[in-house]
Amino acid sequence: MDAILLQVLNGLDKGSAYALIALGLTLIFGTLGVVNFAHGAIFMIGAFCAVTLSRILSLSFETIDPTKVDFLGNPATIKTPYVEAWFGPEFGGALIDWAVPLAILFSIPIMIAVGFIMERGLIKHFYKRPHADQILVTFGLAIVLQEVIKYFYGANPISTPAPEVFKGSFDFGAMFGFDPNVIIYPYWRMVYFLFAAVVIGAVFSFLRFTTFGMVVRAGMADRETVGLLGIDIDRRFTIMFGLAAAVAGMAGVMYAPILSPNYHMGMDFLVLSFVVVVVGGMGSLPGAVAAGFLLGVLESFASMNEIKSIIPGIDQIIIYVVAIIILLTRPRGLLGKRGVMEE
């Protein structure tokens, strides 16, 4: 019982990560009809926004400390972050510590700009082209983005911790009368879960309570006719892309403490997020979110040793097995619309 509860909690949290990534992807993929293989790269750039901000905040000036030596035996240089010098070590230190949450603010304009540039510079030529062409061009773009990041940040993961206050975990079990330490849940993951809920809610309301969503959907189905109705669909597509990039970027920022960012994390997530989106059903935002949570929870369950001892290796393939089963029983995924991307 407690083990199951634990895995459900865990799965919800994993699921919120999947859902958030899939949400951004489905905005582009399900509504603009572009198979965006660069979406993972956008997520990755988001994560690196966090890295960058924490680096900017820790920008330091160097002083030579003759009492210490560096690895070559020369006098060591001591680095002091500017922020600490300016605002005092206390506040400065706190700023550096809070780099990840601050990076949310920092990332939004950057990610929107990235989205705009990508759409205007490249993607807009590909709305009418076959999916295969879209795959090729966005895959190329993803590689280029990765390589650029790799050049500046190297290939190894970069530790990007959450603020100190979020370290450690909350003992749910104790709250509900289980033994201590049985059901624990790290604070940062709770933050992530809440954050995901807020973002998902915001995106939903934006698309639900404005005509924007309808226009974009219509534009994807038939650009020409929408143009005949006086709507500048290009501009709205651009905005949509910027929005999707911002969502993916924020997901990346917040994920950085959970998964130390590295340059190919985007590719690692890509396949999974496509599976999530498709299992959810093309063009359906609730579907993407539901599928994200479903797969997250199932994956958590499959990782339990009790289950693995029955079906060895099930945790490796559970996502794919579930995807296959769902697609075979529900032709258009969980909540997919007819005719979207079935050609």
């Binding site: 020409e224 005949l228 005719g339």
Partner: protein, 254 residues
């Protein structure tokens, strides 16, 4: 006898320079689908509030001309001018032309999949200027009101045609371009739509009507332009065509 009524593209351009400024005019329009040269120098004028019938055989280039006028990407206009009430449409994109007052009812209706009937109409009213209200549209097409929650593309052929016309009226337009609006409609409805067109005309909206049912179109229209292989072969009054056997036989096969 019919000689002097035949106006070719060449003397049209002279005509264009001299005659009084037209409300809507197309001058020497050339357009391509990729490599194939389809609209080969089409010119005509329409006066405000007039109905112009644009006729011709299958493949004559009627649809292509309308699409070119509506500033769609295909066919690509390589040369020519389009003027509407002192605005030059030929420099505009499709959505700008639509805002400028052009409304096209495309030949295959183009109901947007995934949207309900009502959403299809609402979509037309997102950008100013807005034309008929939904109530007024539903008054004219009660069938659409019945079906308004249904997905647009599941409508019957005729219902779709109604929706497509209604969608054009939902915008405040100056010129209505109709590509075969009667196609697939029951005779009663055709009568109905004809009445509507007269109402529209009475409101001062200029109409260009492409129609295979030439007799019907000519009865309604003030003037007629006949296209053949992408060029204008006749430009004159509609009555004349109706009355002139030779013309009808030669270009319309009726």
């Amino acid at each position: 006898m019919a000689e002097k009524q035949y106006k070719t593209a060449e003397n049209m351009s002279a005509n264009h320079a001299e005659s009084a400024p037209a409300y809507f005019s197309v001058w020497d329009l050339h357009a391509y689908y990729g490599e194939s040269y389809i609209v080969q120098g089409v010119s005509f004028n329409v006066h405000e509030g007039e109905i112009l019938a644009l006729l011709g055989r299958n493949g004559a280039g009627k649809t292509s001309t309308l699409r070119a006028i509506a500033r769609l990407d295909d066919p690509m206009v390589t040369h020519g001018e389009i003027w509407l009430d002192h605005q030059h449409l030929h420099t505009m994109k499709a959505h700008e032309a639509a805002i400028a007052g052009l409304g096209l009812v495309p030949e295959d209706r183009r109901i947007i999949p995934g949207l309900t009937v009502e959403e299809n109409l609402q979509l037309a009213q997102i950008v100013e200027p807005i034309g008929w209200s939904l109530e007024r549209i539903y008054d004219l097409f009660p069938r659409l009101k019945e079906r308004r929650k249904q997905e647009g593309i599941t409508l019957s052929g005729g219902e779709q045609q109604m929706l497509s016309i209604a969608r054009a009226l939902a915008r405040d337009i100056k010129v209505l371009l109709l590509d075969e609006p009667y196609e697939g409609l029951a005779p009663v409805i055709v009568d109905e739509i004809e009445k509507t067109l007269r109402i529209i005309k009475a409101q001062g909206i200029t109409t260009i009507l492409v129609e295979q049912n030439a007799v019907r179109a000519l009865n309604l229209a003030d003037r007629a332009v006949i296209l053949d292989t992408g060029t204008v072969v006749y430009d004159g009054s509609a009555k004349e065509v109706l009355e002139n056997e030779t013309l009808r036989a030669e270009y319309l096969a009726i």
